[in-house]
């Protein structure tokens, strides 16, 4: 126990990130189930309005701040030193500090449920002055602000560590242009974190000053400006979307290349598109504010449309990698194909709402709920599970059961689409998001009923995943260094790897050092 609490080893830190994010995922999943129980029927009174507000706020907050982004950070913690041939991260103590700030910050956010007024309830975006003067007056709101400040600092520390490790600790011969795509995506993600998270920390501090120290940053009655909050929040908030997706783009590229038995198609294009997405994502924040009438809609609409181009490049790269490949439909590969289908729908609906006239129609409706769940749930979450199946043998030395894995993938895909496709139609029929109930009009009862059935299917699939973990760990069939036939350096060391990762490194002469070794290609030492 003490060993884990005091460790500075990147693999143990990565593992603790992954395990803790799965814990937060289960908590967020229970909250999602409560939302769907409440909305399964019209005019429902199972959950009161204030409790419902807390539930959807904490569901969103947990998924965004405590599950999807930090899982990628945990995975990167585990993988980056292995992929670049380093013995550890550049700053191991800083790394451990980031982990503990994240865990303590996350628990602090959830501790709001134990307070008298309940947890934060102003939505994950925590708009001021709503979070200051109307409903967010309890201690839960303070804990939310303090918790997110701590996790924000954790992200900044970790991003610095990633950049320094990748720049300075690459093994001899591992030039930038030989790095695996996942590591490249983490460079772009780290830059985004460094640009976006300080703004979040600042805006959380400003809300705390307003709440406790007599500040009036966002109170219009005292000369403050609520639009300022939206600018500052979304300058963090939109890049955060890409912080949550870019690492998973890397995961998908790694898995598709491995199971197509082909190098990544358009490697340079893949890298440049990651940076193009990162750069453009910093210039689109106010497309979340079209309907305020206080921003330049053409400017933000134009840049939002532009993001579709590098994202399209990535789709071409993934499909090009599969094209004429020797495709093996393992569970991680199936989940990646599901990712492509879901994320395409998320992307297309994103292009739709990048157009201000359409956004005015869809704003704050269930159409938007469908859109962002297809990008972050259908996209990131499917890639997250693909990563779990793919890297589980490397992290824990155990391969997850493939038969149960395929059942999981099928149920998760069906459940996900049954849940979220009806939400788009409910939005088009005028159903507003964040409402604790709705009248029995149009097809809302049918559509919401379907969504709730879909959520039950997702719940079954997630239970099946954890059963798979238990069964596989109990059976504990030994795996070799490389159970999948991967191409990057991490597959050349044992599973799990030794304390400082490699007993011996081969000369690195290409982007695919593991395939070079496996195929006995010339790797001259001179």
């Amino acid at each position: 126990m003490i060993e884990w609490l005091t460790t500075t080893n990147h693999k143990k830190i990565g593992t603790m990130y992954i395990v803790s994010t799965l814990g937060f995922f289960c908590a967020a999943g229970v909250l999602a189930a409560l939302i769907r129980i409440q909305l399964a029927q019209p005019n429902s009174t199972i959950i009161g309005t204030h409790a419902y507000n807390q539930i959807f706020t904490m569901h969103g907050t947990a998924m965004i701040f405590l599950v999807i982004a930090p899982f990628a950070i945990g995975l990167a913690n585990f993988l980056i030193p292995l992929q670049i041939g380093a013995p550890d991260m550049a700053f191991p103590r800083l790394n451990a500090t980031g982990l503990w700030l994240f865990i303590i910050g996350g628990l602090t956010v959830f501790a709001g449920f134990a307070t008298y007024g309940g947890a934060a309830s102003a939505g994950w975006s925590n708009y001021a002055p709503l979070s200051e003067i109307t409903i967010g007056t309890g201690a839960g709101e303070d804990l939310y602000l303090v918790g997110l400040t701590l996790t924000g600092i954790s992200n900044i520390l970790t991003a610095v560590n990633f950049v320094v490790t990748i720049v300075c600790f690459r093994a001899p011969g591992m030039t930038f242009w030989r790095m695996p795509i996942f590591t490249w995506e983490m460079v772009a993600t780290s830059i985004l974190i460094l640009m976006a998270f300080p703004t979040l920390t600042a805006v959380m501090a400003m809300v705390l000053i307003d709440r406790h120290m007599g500040g009036h940053f966002f109170d219009p009655a005292q000369g403050g400006n609520p639009i300022l909050y939206q600018h500052l929040f979304w300058f963090f908030g939109h890049p955060e979307v890409y912080i949550m997706i870019l690492p998973y783009f890397g995961v998908v590229a790694e898995i598709i290349a491995t199971f197509s038995r082909k190098p990544v198609f358009g490697y340079v294009g893949m890298v440049i598109s990651a940076f193009a997405i990162a750069g453009l994502s910093l210039g689109v924040w106010a497309h979340h504010m079209f309907t305020t009438g206080a921003v330049s809609n053409p400017f933000f609409s134009g840049i939002s449309f532009l993001i579709a181009i590098p994202t399209g490049v990535k789709f071409v790269n993934w499909i090009g990698t599969m094209w004429k490949g020797s495709i093996e439909l393992t569970t991680p590969m199936i989940l990646c194909v599901c990712f492509l289908l879901n994320f395409l729908l998320g992307g297309i609906t994103g292009v739709m709402v990048a157009s201000p006239p359409l956004d005015y129609m869809a704003h704050d409706s269930y159409f938007i709920v469908q859109h962002f769940h297809y990008t972050l749930g259908g996209g990131s979450l499917f890639a997250l599970f693909a990563a779990l199946f793919f890297y589980f043998p490397k992290i824990f030395g155990v391969k997850l059961d493939e038969r149960l894995g395929k059942w999981f993938a099928a149920l998760f895909f069906i459940g996900f689409n049954v849940t979220f496709i009806p939400m788009g139609f409910a939005g088009l029929e005028g159903m507003a998001r964040r409402m604790s109930t709705y009248p029995d009009v149009a097809h809302l009862a049918l559509l919401n009923g379907l969504s709730s059935i879909g959520t039950a299917i997702i719940a079954v699939s997630v239970v099946l995943f954890f059963v798979n973990v238990l069964v596989s760990v109990r059976n504990r069939e030994p795996v070799g260094n490389d159970p999948w036939g991967g191409y990057s350096l991490e597959w050349l060391t044992s599973s799990p790897p030794p304390e400082f990762n490699f007993d011996e490194l081969p000369p690195i002469r290409s982007k695919m050092p593991a395939w070079d070794v496996a195929e006995g290609r010339e790797v001259s030492r001179s």
């Binding site: 451990a96 700030l101 011969g173 000369p507």
Partner: protein
Amino acid sequence: MKTFVLFFGGSAIFGAVTGLAYWLVAHEEATGTVLLGCMAAALAFTAAYAVIAEKNADLPGDDPAELPETAAGENLGIFTTRSAWPILVAISSLAALVGMLWSPLIGFSGLIALILCLWRLGAESARV
């Protein structure tokens, strides 16, 4: 290092151009211009640091023909495996922040503990 400068410098130029374009179309709204300007300045600072301070950096990872032996064992440095200070830094940060809002005594104690933990963490890092 050239690639690092290329990406950070390129991102800085992108930020500056976007900031300028934003100012041209929405100069009555200063927040966006300031945010984009700060972003460009931060990225430019990082790229400039790499150009000025690290121009002679000799990183084994930058040489495509380098052998693994050149950066192995003691050449690579010593990595710590354990430290109690990171978790204590996190706990004292929480105490300082929560205390500042609800209880000055806890806040002040947390702040003192945080300073002590950071000092010990730094001292430990300087040793190994």
